[in-house]
Symmetry: C2
Subunit: 215 residues, 2 copies
């Protein structure tokens, strides 16, 4: 690594693909841009790296500023660094993926955000910058990681029925999984424990489970 760095430094920002489950649909949090460029377009939440924080902290901070919650599940998945991806100045984007329960949060429009909304993944609007590409990679990454069923807990309340857990799986995977096979895997892996309580609804009650902490 050379001593001297003859070039201007790029800005470094985190962009966060925040997913949640709304009425059975995997949905993405988007911010309406309040100024140029792409004024009025929708974009991923995110923001610039501050001097005293690392990238993970930056992503956590930005997400908290936007949603008010500390995400259970938030991790880096790719970088986006085309020189002209932002017309104003060079910005290297460090992309993060988050999962959280939408009902825990209250969306706050930031200083430059005109609006904030959840969009079902199947009906996203046009996105600013290269954010569509970022989202595509995020969805791919999310599905790859679904082999670890524990990520579903980030989308579920503390106690939940196995049907709810499977609905979450189906929504993330984008395709349904067999009920008996799903339950077998969940039980064999020791992911959940019975709370002893039952859900009550319009039909047969279901057992309520909670996450079993790995021992």
């Amino acid at each position: 690594m050379p001593f001297t760095y003859e070039f201007p430094h790029p800005a470094v920002a985190t962009d966060i693909a925040v997913f949640t489950l709304i009425a059975g649909d995997l949905s993405l949090l988007l911010i309406k841009r309040g100024g140029p460029p792409f004024e009025g377009s929708w974009a991923l939440p995110g923001g610039f790296l501050a001097p005293d924080e690392d990238l993970d902290s930056c992503a956590h901070r930005e997400l908290k500023e936007e949603t008010g919650v500390d995400a259970e599940l938030l991790f880096h998945f790719a970088n986006f660094s085309a020189p002209d991806r932002d017309p104003r100045q060079r910005v290297v984007s460090i992309a993060y993926l988050a999962l959280l329960r939408f009902d825990l949060i209250t969306l706050k429009a930031g200083s430059d955000a005109a609006d904030a909304r959840w969009f079902p993944l199947a009906s996203l609007p046009n996105l600013a910058f290269d954010h569509r590409e970022i989202v595509d990679v995020a969805v791919r990454t999310l599905r790859e990681r679904l082999g670890d069923l524990a990520i579903l807990f980030a989308l579920l309340p503390q106690s939940f029925t196995l049907t709810a857990m499977q609905d979450a799986y189906d929504a993330v995977a984008g395709a349904p999984i067999d009920k008996r096979n799903f339950r077998k895997v969940v039980f064999d892996a020791g992911l959940v424990e019975d709370t002893g309580e039952l859900s009550r609804g319009r039909h047969r009650p279901a057992r309520l489970y909670r996450r079993k902490q790995p021992s």
Copy 2:
């Protein structure tokens, strides 16, 4: 993302963990630092992002400057961004992993590098900055990706014996695999094709194979 960026921008650099196979040992390319900080210490090759290139291009360029070759296998695997990881200035490191044949390259010490050498992974010297952590994560990532045996081709000549391919596997995995099982997987996956030629050595000749391009 705010319009204005009130903070000084960090420098952005790629650091590259370059692995090769030397005499059966998985080995890592290190550069001896020619100036402070950590003068005389060994460090990963890498360098700062130029204005007209993205991060992948930066990694390719730096690797080529250092080794003279375009790596077959070069990919991003993690970011390192602790605010104080470089005592001179803030540097965000985008870490890449490369595999290549050491016999194809001639090491060139760069302007600020006093020396460049291959070190067997089992006997690395102390490293500058947080490069030891980067290397640890790189090795873990490399072993995770070994499920894809095709990465081994980056370490092998155009034609090779299956024993050589397995030796490469064993070196990367850090543990031996059963010979018959290894061959079964390689053949069943259709990774190689017979060249029709034989190696000649001190003992029974072995069939030479080449990589079969996925059709």
